[in-house]
Amino acid sequence: MEALVIVAHGSHLNSESSTPTFAHADTIRATGAFDEVREGFWKEEPPFREVLRTVESDEVYVVPLFISEGYFTEQVIPRELRLAEWDPAQWDSDGTSATHTTLTPTDVDKRVHYCGPVGTHDAMSDVVVQRAESVTGDPDVGEGFGLAVVGHGTERNENSAKAIEYHAERIAAMDRFDEVRPLFMDEDPEVDDVTDYFESEDVVVVPLFIADGYHTQEDIPEDMGLTDDYRTGWETPAEVDGHRIWYSGAVGTEPLMADVVLERAADAGADVEAAIDRVRAETTGADVAGH
């Protein structure tokens, strides 16, 4: 039997933190590609420490629902899953090129295929574009539009900025949007000054975050000037300094994210091609979190 285990951060405070994890897990469950699908969390239950024992399968694909490679994917998750033989070198990554490795946990009799995070997979660029289509309601959005990919800066994690830049470059290379730029919360180019960085009147802003929460629903909208008080909400698009800002909320709530989870498992050897086709076909519609 084969299981997919999606591991995510979760929250002690925000009940919406786990929503995208559950939604993507359900999308994949519905394909029947795995005998079992289970979610595990750092701050919720089952915890990373105990998630592997909740599945019956002896082959387990573990996909971290995290944006970047770093502290969580390289230290916390492998340690808590008791992948004693883990060494970050097994991913042979430059910060955005992690793939997968196969390990044996010390507490359960299973083979774990430990995959890189969804956030640095190439397919994530497509999810950002899909997010832009969702928020504008235009499947051909691009011409006349700028696109900003937003993340934390290097302060928290050097690779976090790398992931943002990586996808911004890839999307720029698609030649679809007039301008594409990475923006950051705690360093230049800062998201606060979003309108300074774009000539296009219309700018889609996609934060590369897994779940909606404080940063994506309070901080960023206020910093960009979409609203003075996040509690009163904002327009989409919102007028800021002569630009129309189409703010999408966390990319992680985009249904197409389920595809990236599957791609990670496929890269690690899971036979899920049919599921990938199905999910790609199905998830070009509405937003899972309803934003």
């Binding site: 002690h12 405070l13 559950f22 919720e44 105990e50 909740t54 019956e56 230290q75």
Partner: protein, 367 residues
């Protein structure tokens, strides 16, 4: 009992079947069927169906546990436990399963198992407080995945970060689950509880005590380890008393200070174990590590005896989660809102400082 079951029995009897007080074996041209109650029948193979009908409960019981129930050891054991299968003989058990069913508690859950004439089990799952609720008072669900949403918020719509807090919401029911779906629903409500319970029964629960758990922490939680620097483990007693007792968490705490040093606080009576300090306890411990780094000071406050007791009442009400139950007009309770507001009006200065006594008399700042 149906034909498939008889066929399966005939096949399995070739290697001899022995299960829950029933035995079936190939003998010559026929079979011997026997029960622990002493009944024994020898039949020709062409009459197996008829003879098996006399043992229908035993046969369908055997069939269910080998072809109907999930075979993963922990799930199988849990479902067996739910109907007391190891202990209760088949005839007695089947009487109960055919009637009102067998009901068992699991945390705040109430599971009732029934069986039909073919021995197929069905499980009804609900909150123990809804045991007597009328159909119209509960919302029915059939997809175990919905259990995740049920587990998210309590009856006051407050988020439940700890799934085993005794605050599971009421007003829902899974009236008719198959065996595998029942286990999944339970695992969404109390994640990993079945797996850890089973490990414990097998003598294989991998407990991580306080000391090793805090030593394992890194990042912003690495600091918790330093809380242990002084001799003793009294602070860990306080943590366990604050977070882990039955009134706060339904898991039975099996972790101690370390493998040699037990805590003085009781672990509770929960059915399923807690094998290591959870993320909520670690997050709280991080805050306590910071706060407990402070040195005590002597403050002088002027309070009437009743005011001192009122402070105790208020702390107690918050600690017991009782503040919402204090009635608006109950001015006899120290934790009543008007009483608390009166105390604040009288004893706090404009900066919100108790009796005007600065927190830090030597500092420039009252904070």
């Amino acid at each position: 009992m149906n034909e498939d079951q008889v066929e399966a029995l005939a096949e399995a009897a070739a290697d001899r079947v022995e299960f829950d007080g029933f035995a079936a074996a190939r003998e010559g041209e026929g079979y011997v069927l026997a029960t622990e109650e002493g009944s024994e029948t020898l039949v020709h193979e062409s009459d197996l169906g008829e003879a098996a009908a006399d043992y229908a409960d035993y046969v369908t019981n055997w069939y269910f546990w080998h072809a109907g129930a999930p075979q993963a050891e922990d799930r199988w054991a849990f479902l067996r436990w739910l109907e007391d299968a190891g202990e209760r003989p088949v005839p007695d058990r089947y009487d109960a399963l055919a009637g009102d069913g067998v009901t068992t508690a699991w945390g705040q859950l109430r599971v009732t198992v029934t069986a039909d004439a073919d021995g197929r089990r069905r499980y009804a799952l609900r909150h123990e407080d809804d045991a007597g609720a009328a159909d119209a008072e509960v919302t029915d669900y059939d997809d175990p995945l919905d259990a995740r949403e049920i587990a998210k918020h309590d009856d006051y719509d407050r988020y439940r970060p700890l799934k085993t807090a005794p605050t599971l919401r009421t007003g829902w029911r899974f009236p008719d689950l198959r065996p595998a779906a029942l286990v999944r629903a339970v695992d969404f409500l109390y994640p990993a509880s079945v797996a850890n319970w089973h490990r414990e029964r097998a003598g294989e629960l991998d407990v991580s005590h306080w000391r090793e758990t805090v030593e394992r922490q890194s990042g912003i939680y690495g600091v918790v380890e330093t809380w242990d620097r002084q001799e003793g483990y009294e602070h860990v007693n306080w943590v366990a008393e604050a977070c882990c007792v039955d009134s706060q968490c339904l898991k039975r705490r099996e972790w101690e200070y370390d493998a040699e040093t037990d805590l003085d606080v009781d672990g509770g009576d929960g059915e399923f174990p807690c094998r290591e300090p959870c993320s909520l306890v670690i997050a709280a411990a991080r805050q306590w590590t910071k706060l407990e780094g402070e040195q005590p000071r002597t403050y002088e406050f002027e309070l009437t005896p009743s005011e001192k007791e009122q402070v105790e009442d208020i702390i107690d009400a918050v600690a017991e989660g009782r503040t919402g139950d204090v009635r608006e007009g109950d001015v006899y309770d120290g934790a009543n809102r008007y009483r608390a507001r009166f105390l604040r009006a009288k004893r706090f200065d404009d900066e919100g400082t108790l009796c005007g006594v600065p927190t830090d008399p030597d500092g420039d700042d009252d904070e």
